[in-house]
């Protein structure tokens, strides 16, 4: 159960607060799940009053809340919103914050519980945490708690992640540190474990004996928009694969945990990360394709090349697409490749996991292997969350003709109620002290260890693999198709 607390958002004038965090808290309130004793303090540099902050947030909730805006509810909810102006490095600002939180504890009976949300650039983490420690806000009073939520990117490589972790660990205990990966808050991501471990039909065939390969795709038609400078320093591999996609891979590949406690689940995920087969520079050349979008068309409109985007180098070597063939070296997944791809300016937006089973034996209906396709279980993370299973069926008629058909489950139509936004679930979990859906230090560092070898092969190698160009609006570079074609496989059609 979420407990009464004061939520402090650092970087409260940023986009995330307006588009995700406050609408999420509002929706939790609309669902009746927000603790009655809860206040939110926005901490940022810009000059604002509580009233002007609330007015801006009202507009944002009207735009971004999945339940729309109810005036009466907003009146009640907005009374819990406050704004605290301060520089991140100004100790005096933190002292005043501590006083204000004490005052809110007294006024609103929030019990001394504090949840600090760092919605700021990683370069600000150290300074903010240091100041929180200096004024003692990292230490909870008896019977209360003090937790910190850290937004991605959590480092840009293993050394920087370790450094950040060390900074966080000196101020907060690991059990009070919540590294957020919003993909894990999505209903379908949570449903992966339910699908696997609450149904008896899947787990017996969830292994190399029956599964041919797994494809994980995150595609979007958008370009870098206004994020050019950030993207230039990260690229698709760091921005998406290191966190979101490896997290999904872990959920698909992990062993059943002994129970559903946060550490039991995270222990199993860490084992997967450790089992990822590291790649040598040569193997990176063979198993990883990086690409960058050229000019093209999306939804009938001409779009510019990545290198022509605002605040992007005209000679940029940043990848906007990456496809990898990954092996998980354990008993369950021996010789089962995981093909992972992510890209911008692709035809369709969506994140999906496709588990492709081995072909039926080449007898009876499957004598002609090309005529009968494999069974494919697709887990749609977003949009249109759901699960589909492709099976073969006989077409009615005298002739024996086998055709693929799709059994489809949609969250939206099956349960009627709209799925909560990922941030709603994650904020509730953090208030409840459940870290299952948050990344642990060893997970994050293990993922960076794997990713760094690829980055090094690209950027610290005398003969780096090429950066392939693909037309915006296409399904990525042809080299990515070749990556699977070499194994006699193809990317599934989304």
């Amino acid at each position: 159960m979420p407990q009464p607390c004061n939520v402090v958002i650092f970087g409260a004038s940023g986009d995330l607060t307006y588009r995700k965090l406050i609408p999420a808290l509002y929706n939790i309130a609309a669902d009746g799940d927000l603790p009655a004793a809860l206040s939110v303090v926005g901490f940022a540099r810009r000059e604002k009053s509580d009233d002007s902050f609330r007015a801006e947030l009202k507009e944002a909730v009207g735009k971004h809340s999945r339940q729309g805006l109810n005036e009466e509810l907003w009146e009640s909810f907005s009374e819990r919103l406050f704004y605290h102006r301060s520089e991140f490095g100004d100790l005096d600002g933190y002292k005043k914050l501590a006083e204000r939180l004490d005052q809110l504890d007294a006024e609103r009976n929030t019990g001394g519980n504090r949840l600090f949300y760092l919605s700021v650039a990683p370069s600000e983490f150290g300074g903010i945490l240091e100041k929180l420690a200096e004024v003692g806000l990292n230490k909870a009073r008896d019977g209360a708690w003090s937790r910190v939520i850290v937004e991605k990117p959590f480092g840009s490589d293993l050394p920087s992640a370790q450094e950040l972790n060390t900074i966080v660990d000196t101020v907060f205990q690991e059990q009070d540190t919540y590294r957020i990966d919003h993909f894990l808050g999505k209903e379908t991501a949570q449903n992966i474990m339910v699908l696997r471990f609450a149904n008896s039909i899947f787990e017996p065939i969830w292994n190399s004996r029956y599964i041919d390969h797994v494809q994980i795709t995150a595609s979007e038609p958008l370009g870098v928009e206004a994020r050019g400078p950030y993207y230039e320093s990260s690229g698709a591999l760091r921005d998406m694969v290191q966190n979101h996609l490896l997290q999904l891979l872990c959920l698909v590949a992990m062993e059943p945990p002994t129970d559903l406690k946060a550490d039991s689940v995270r222990d199993e995920k860490v084992k997967v990360v450790r089992a990822l087969r590291p790649m040598s520079p040569e193997e990176v050349g063979e198993n990883v394709v990086r690409g960058q979008y050229a000019a093209g068309a999306i939804n009938g409109k001409e779009v510019i090349a990545y290198r022509a985007e605002d605040r992007v180098s005209r000679e940029s070597m940043t990848e906007t697409y990456v496809a990898l063939k990954v092996h998980v070296d354990n008993w369950r997944w021996a010789d089962v490749p995981f093909y992972v791809r992510v890209g911008k300016r692709l035809p369709k937006g969506g994140t999906e996991i496709a588990v492709q089973f081995k072909n039926a034996p080449s007898v009876l209906f499957n004598k002609d292997a090309a005529a009968v396709g494999p069974n494919v279980l697709v887990i749609r993370i977003q949009p249109d969350e759901g699960i589909s299973l492709r099976i073969q069926a006989k077409r009615p008629g005298a002739a024996l003709r086998v055709e693929p058909v799709k059994m489809d489950f949609h969250y939206g139509t099956s349960f009627g109620k709209a799925s909560p936004e990922a941030y709603e679930r994650l904020l509730l979990d953090a208030m409840s002290g459940d870290a299952t859906l948050f990344a642990r230090r060893d997970e994050v560092e293990g993922a960076w260890r794997f990713i760094d070898r690829i980055e090094e092969a690209w950027h610290k190698n005398e003969t780096p693999p090429p950066l392939c160009e693909y037309e915006a609006g296409s399904w990525g570079p042809t080299e990515a198709d070749d990556l699977l074609a070499r194994d006699g496989r193809a990317w599934r059609r989304m």
Binding site: P221, G296, A297, I298, N299, G300, K301, P347, K348, E352, D368, A370, A371, V376, V378, P383, D384, S388, R390, R395, G397, A399, R401, E403, P404, V405, K406, T413, E471, G473, S474, W475, D481, A485, R492, R493, M494
Partner: protein
């Protein structure tokens, strides 16, 4: 392009980036009363906005038997303004059980001006995932073809009968497909057109006694309507491929092949008024088979002549030559069309 384009049959105009959302609204609105069904993505590529209504009618007819997501792609390259417009529509039919309507969705695109390079992206972004993609390409193929699009097509439907110069079209098709690394199945409606005739002919030789006619085959005569020479040529290719005939030469009256026993077999192609293929005769010194499409066109009247003045008559269905029937036949029939590829290879020197 005429300003007065009648788009009423195409349904509701939608923004290109919002098609998925608007389709969802369409289904949410009728939830409970209808069931959306789809087994394939059926894309239709046509030229000229004036063909959109007729194609929509065809699609509607098709969806009665084949649940699909239909994607109509119409190009109007001479339009002054470069733009792409879209509409969504649903074709609903009462299910056999009668309780619910089974509905298929149609997304229509009109590519005006110089916008044809956007086709692949728009098709990809509107496919029903994990379902096969059938592309019906009306008219002649572009040069070069869009490799990205074709590399993702499972079945390419076309009608070689409509081509005025079939040989360069087939050559372009084969070369392009090799280059595009495509494994699609070629579905030539011109081949489907002769399906019933081929089936009827083959059926005549199910009886072992009749096989002697084939073993000593001397002449085959195929009579075709004026616009159906290519249908007759494909049929000739079928005979050659299935009977192991080697093309040696052509003369004024037909094609000469060397048969399996080293003799000559002549296949004569004759122009006659009537249906696409109105008559087909096989003759040998051991008898013959004559197939004649009856006046109404619905049946083949078949006569089998065997030694000893024995004659047998049969009446077999001839099928329909309408485009919708051919499409229904093609989509319902499926298969890899390996015999077609063999027939095409044998027919190529004759084109």
């Amino acid at each position: 392009m005429p300003d007065s384009l009648d788009t009423s049959a195409l349904g509701m105009p939608v923004e290109l980036g919002q098609i998925g959302r608007d389709l969802k609204k369409l289904w949410d609105r009728d939830a409970g009363a209808t069931t959306r069904a789809s087994l394939i993505n059926f894309a239709v590529h046509c030229e000229g906005s004036g063909t959109m209504s007729a194609n929509t009618e065809l699609i509607m007819e098709l969806t009665r038997e084949h649940a699909c997501r239909a994607i109509l792609i119409c190009c109007e390259p001479t339009a002054p303004e470069a733009r792409v417009r879209a509409w969504i529509n649903a074709h609903c039919h009462l299910s056999r059980a009668g309780a619910k309507q089974i509905c298929c969705e149609q997304i229509s695109f009109l590519f005006e001006g110089d916008t044809q390079n956007r086709i692949a992206n728009i098709v990809f972004s509107n496919l029903d995932s994990d379902l096969p993609l059938h592309l019906w390409w009306q008219g002649v193929f572009p040069d070069p073809i869009d490799e990205e699009l074709w590399a993702r097509v499972d079945r390419l439907i076309f009608d070689s009968q409509a081509w005025t110069s079939p040989r360069p079209q087939f050559t372009r098709l084969k070369d392009s497909l090799t280059h595009a690394n495509s494994r699609l199945t070629l579905c030539d409606l011109n081949w489907t057109r002769s399906l019933h005739l081929r089936q009827a002919l083959a059926q005549m030789f199910d009886h072992p006694e009749n096989l002697d006619v084939l073993a000593n085959l001397q002449t085959i005569t195929i009579a075709h309507a004026p616009e159906y020479r290519s249908t007759a040529i494909l049929l000739t290719g079928w005979f050659a491929a299935q009977l192991g005939l080697e093309f040696t030469r052509a003369d004024g009256t037909g094609f000469i092949f060397q048969n399996a026993v080293g003799g000559d077999t002549r296949i004569a192609i004759k122009l006659e008024a009537g249906r696409s293929i109105s008559r087909c005769e096989l003759a040998s010194d051991r008898g013959g088979v004559q197939m004649q499409r009856d006046a109404a066109g619905d049946f083949f009247r078949v006569e089998v002549r065997l030694p000893g003045d024995r004659t047998y008559h049969h009446l077999l269905p001839a099928g329909s030559n309408s485009t919708s029937s051919l499409l229904l036949e093609e989509i319902g029939g499926g298969g890899q069309h390996r015999v077609y590829l063999k027939a095409l290879a044998a027919a190529e020197p004759l084109l």
